[in-house]
Amino acid sequence: MKKMSKILARVMAAVMAIAFVFTAVPAFSFDAKAAETVQDEIPTKARIYVRVINNYAIKINLRESGYKIKNLKSSSSNLKVFNTYENSSTNTYGDSYKSQLEIGCYARQEGVYKVSFNLVKGSKKTKKTVIVYAKNDGPFKKVTFAGKNLDVYDGGMAPADSGVFKAVMNKGYRLKKIEMEVNVIKDDSYSESSKYINTNRSATVIKNGAKVNLSNVAYKYLSSYTSSYSSEYNSLTEEEDMVALTQFRVTYVDKYTKQEMYATYSMYKLVNFAK
């Protein structure tokens, strides 16, 4: 049983590594804002865990549409790679990425590998190389909220309404910041008969080890019209969650790539139910 729980802890850690999305931090903040001018994002380094399937280990974001990945190669048979995703948009609105590509990686053992490929658009061809660090150690020794170890998944319900959020890092990983994100209801209603309510996310920076209160605000969307003429013209679309979601985003510097990455922890609190 002891061996079992130890192994399980490792398995859970791996599952959580994917679930908590250890991802490279993009130029944007927690709350997805459109950047004024986007720059091509082509990583030169990537970090993965051993024998953990990562379908988006390498993420490429380009300003121009129509790019494809060709001649994808790995420097070793111990690192398998695959072009798992591509999109292309010729929409003229917005200044977002028009080509997005992803390369999945799977390492059979620890090592430092080279992944090479060509970015191709029509007759244009550029060779790219990414150094992939496949290592077993994770950034966190322990992450807790109200004393509960967040590495063990049991549904995501919060153990208490408030508590201390604390992240203890492993050697070589540096904690950069912790943000707490909650729902904020935005009421853009015109009048009682013409209502519009939506929910945004809002993040604030918190200190490691700080005592925080979980949010009571559940996601809500409402669009309603009540006619003074005839009920035939009435309409109502309403969505409201039973739980309020508080998310903690821990940003840290990876030991190997020296790039910023983050892990997200979600805590749910039951706030809406029929009396």
Partner: protein, 253 residues
């Protein structure tokens, strides 16, 4: 009676008759399941993705219909209307519970004039969906424990015997194997016996879309085989434990 006069009288009679014969108005009824199964964890559970995972979906009959007076038979089973759309003629009820059992959820259906049309009653069966592995002693595939370190997703055999071992006091009720259907990406389940040979799925998640201005394609590296174990625990509660085995099927040679 002259013919002209007769036909006039006949027409008047026919019209009077038509007006007093009651027209059969069909009774519109909302459609919803009579019972649902909800899985939860010891500390409760909420499906992510707002209303998309809500366990009770109601198809309303007429535009403008909505549900109200939502009640649960017990405080151990919380319910809430998580979605309503009068134009889509749909409503969804979320369920939150951390106590396995059988509960009754009731609500009324109203029309756009706030007149009650009918009452509905749904049986909700709550059981544990747990990652807690204490009842699971081990799960072996092709002779190796699926928990023995991180198995190699490349060299794992395409088929092999599946063996489930439970700890004392827990009784195995059934095992189902889920494999992905290529067309729909949905997992289809088939029952298997403990100790029997199973074949791993070869179908990875795959999805593509294209329009005149936007296209995208996604295809994962691995094919997952879901293993759903249903057992009865020491408290005589029916529990479901799900795990999976991944095999890498897509990679550049």
């Amino acid at each position: 009676m002259k013919i002209k006069e007769f036909s006039k009288k006949l027409a008047a009679f026919a019209l009077a008759f038509a007006m007093i014969v009651p027209t059969a108005i069909p009774v519109s009824a909302a459609t919803c399941p009579s019972s649902v199964e909800v899985k939860t964890y010891k500390n409760g559970y909420y499906y992510t993705g707002t209303h998309n995972g809500a366990p009770i979906e109601i198809a309303l009959d007429e535009k403008g219909d909505y549900i109200g007076n939502l009640k649960s038979s017990s405080v151990n089973c919380r319910v809430y209307r998580v979605y309503t759309s009068t134009s889509n003629k749909k409503a969804k009820i979320g369920v939150w519970s951390k106590t396995p059992g059988t509960y009754t959820v009731t609500f009324d259906v109203f029309n756009s004039n706030k007149v009650k049309k009918e009452s509905k009653s749904i049986v909700v069966k709550v059981s544990y969906y747990t990652y807690s592995t204490s009842p699971i002693k081990d799960v072996l595939y092709s002779g190796k424990s699926i928990y023995s370190g991180y198995y190699d997703a490349i060299s794992i055999p395409k088929s092999g015997k599946l063996e489930v071992k439970l700890t004392k006091g827990n009784k195995l009720k059934g095992i189902r194997i889920g494999t992905r259907e290529a067309k729909t990406n949905i997992y289809k389940y088939k029952s298997t016996k403990n100790g029997k040979k199973i074949t791993l799925s070869k179908v990875p998640y795959k999805y593509s879309y294209s329009s005149s201005t936007y296209s995208y394609r996604r295809e994962n590296m691995e094919a997952d085989t879901m293993i759903e174990i249903t057992y009865i625990n020491k408290k005589k509660e029916v529990c479901t434990y799900t795990t999976s085995i991944s095999k890498l099927v897509n990679y550049a040679k």
